[in-house]
Amino acid sequence: MIQKEKLTHPIHEGLTVKHICKQFGTVKALDDVSLTVEPGEFFTLLGPSGCGKTTLLRIIAGLEMADSGRIFSGGKEITRLPAMKRQVNTVFQSYALFPHLTIYENVAFGLRSRKFPEDEIRKRVDRRLEMLDLGAMAQRYHHQLSGGQKQRVALARALVNEPDVLLLDEPMSALDARLRAQVQEDLRRLQRKLGLTFILVTHDQAEALVCSDRLAVMRDGRVIQTGIPEVVYDNPQDSFVAKFLGAANLISCTKVPGGVQTDFGFLSLESEPPWQEGMVAIRPEWIRIGEQQPECNGIRAKVTEIVYRGSSFDLWLEPGHLRVRTSSYRRIDPGREVWLELAPEELVILKDEAN
């Protein structure tokens, strides 16, 4: 304790990734990635397949080595440490449970590797199995378990080691949709209760929004945008983030005084866009629909298609091929003309210029 106080620089206790690059053959899997994950934070790496998110996770786990860049965890550099020397544990996508060991032995594996005394192992393993509702499964083998149970065993096996950082590599991809939604919420609750640092890799935007304290959107080996889910969702930086997180309407336009000119008329904006020709975005649920012409940014449009989504309706309208999401059940048949309001405060100016 005394030694810690003597140190002049404050040590970052979380995980820091600095300028990581990784190349496989001619493919740049990671291109100068830097991130900071706070201790006790639920951080999500979100992106389509091939964006480098799993490679980054594997580099943090020590299963791959970065070509360049550095990684710090708990104030210590771990860049060149092998996986077995890192206080980091992984929940694998395939769960990777040892088929020749019982569930109990699977969970005890990490403690046995580190030569914990037998009674300590028993205490810790039993506690984790109880916590994840697996007490009755202890003496079974992995092929006797359901998908959700296997996933919880993988989680228990990693958590029992009390790692500095827990890595989750698309842990819900093998579960069916209903169970997945349940597990997402459970995982979030578990993380809050334990106060451990979780890093989740996923391509599922809904999962990222449900689970994370903060998330990073990745594309082609780069981090495009980092922030808390609400902020990233409300203020996507570019068309990629806007499309990947939720179904945004992307509108090509040209800058004119006071706003932009689109294919279907003038739209006034709150601030001036940084480009001459570019794009603005608006979420389908932020477009208001009505019978009367609104004061500002009103568009007369015709309904072309209607999609029922249970809790809401999606309407497709022309001109502009706009999608509008409405929760109120008012049957609007295709062919009808309505007024749309694209309020200036709801329009997001995207960074990317027209190509």
């Binding site: 786990a61 020590g62 299963l63 092998p82 996986a83 077995m84 020397k85 980091v88 544990n89 992984t90 694998f92 996508q93 395939s94 990777a96 449970l97 040892f98 088929p99 020749h100 060991l101 594996f109 990490g110 590797s113 580190r114 083998y141 092929h143 096996r157 990693a158 080691n161």
Partner: protein
């Protein structure tokens, strides 16, 4: 109308997998007959012969006795000797060491081949198999050539003072192991390779992630996955190696006799068929015991 319908159902029933499997039993008959005629019957003859007496000129005298087995156990006219038991014991040791070294050499070889590109893998596997297609006697003679005094290996050994100057590196135990191991490596490598190629690397990574040492990664993540192939390799090596006689005969010389040579000698130069049959029975019993032990152990290891 009703008749045709039932006929159709009956026909459909005939082509189900269950029915075909049941009927498949008939096709076993020729194979079974072959085995009865050329394996089971001769073995029974061998059992009988092992209990009769050798005549003065090597013919069989139909006087039943257990003398042959007593002789194998070491009881002679001049008291007890461990000669034959020692030969049996030496055969077991040679087979065990051969198997162990073959396994130790095969693992890295399999990983090496599995890491090649798909096209090169078949080339490497073919290279492993080529010696396997060459006649065993020719291969043994090839070792004569390699171990001859003119070759660098013998010269090096002479330089180090292991053998006298100008002497070959055979016949001795070392030459026997060289010959045996080179002969049996493909029997381990091929079945083991099948397991190594399909290895689920995520288990290896999980073990590493869970702080396992290299040894623990091998015993917990690699060994259980490659166990089926390894078992086949061990069975294909250990038991044939125990009865091997060409290699020890050529490379081991008279001083390094194994049970295979002993049997061959009894049926050949010594013209003592009953004793040869008794030794054969001894080898067969050892093999059976070995297989039983192996099956028990195997069941313990492969819980799943």
């Amino acid at each position: 109308m009703k008749r045709t319908e039932s006929l159709i159902t009956w026909y459909g029933e005939l082509t189900t997998r269950r029915h075909l499997l049941k009927r498949g039993g008939l096709f076993l008959v020729p194979g079974l007959l072959w085995l009865m005629l050329f394996l089971v019957l001769p073995s029974l003859v061998l059992v009988v012969v092992s209990f009769v007496t050798r005549g003065a000129y090597g013919e069989l005298e139909w006087v039943f006795t257990i003398e042959n087995y007593k002789r194998l156990a070491g009881f002679t006219l001049f008291g007890w000797t461990a000669d034959y038991l020692l030969i049996l014991w030496r055969s077991i040791v040679v087979a065990m060491v051969t198997t162990l070294i073959s396994v130790v050499l095969s693992y890295p070889l399999c990983f090496f081949i599995a890491a090649r590109s798909e096209r090169n893998r078949y080339m490497w596997l073919t290279l492993v198999m080529i010696p396997f297609w060459t006649n065993m006697v020719i291969r043994a003679y090839a070792w004569f050539f390699i171990l001859s005094p003119e070759m660098p290996f013998a010269k090096l050994a002479a330089l180090l003072g292991c053998i006298p100057d100008g002497a070959p590196l055979y016949p001795n135990a070392f030459a026997v192991y060289l010959g045996m191991i080179s002969m049996f490596i493909p029997f381990v490598t091929l079945p083991l390779y099948a397991g190594v190629e399909r290895l689920d690397w995520s288990l290896v990574e999980a073990a590493q992630d869970l702080y396992a040492s290299r040894i623990r990664v091998f015993t917990q993540a690699i060994l259980p996955q490659t166990m089926p192939g390894l078992s086949v390799g061990i069975i294909f090596t250990f038991f044939p190696a125990m009865g091997m006689f060409v290699v020890p005969d050529l490379l081991g010389g008279a001083k390094y006799m194994l049970v295979g040579n002993l049997i061959q000698q009894q049926f050949g130069t010594s013209r003592d068929w009953p004793f040869g049959a008794a030794v054969s029975m001894g080898l067969m019993v050892l093999t059976m015991i070995g297989l039983q032990i192996y099956r028990r152990k195997g069941k313990e290891i492969q819980v799943v």
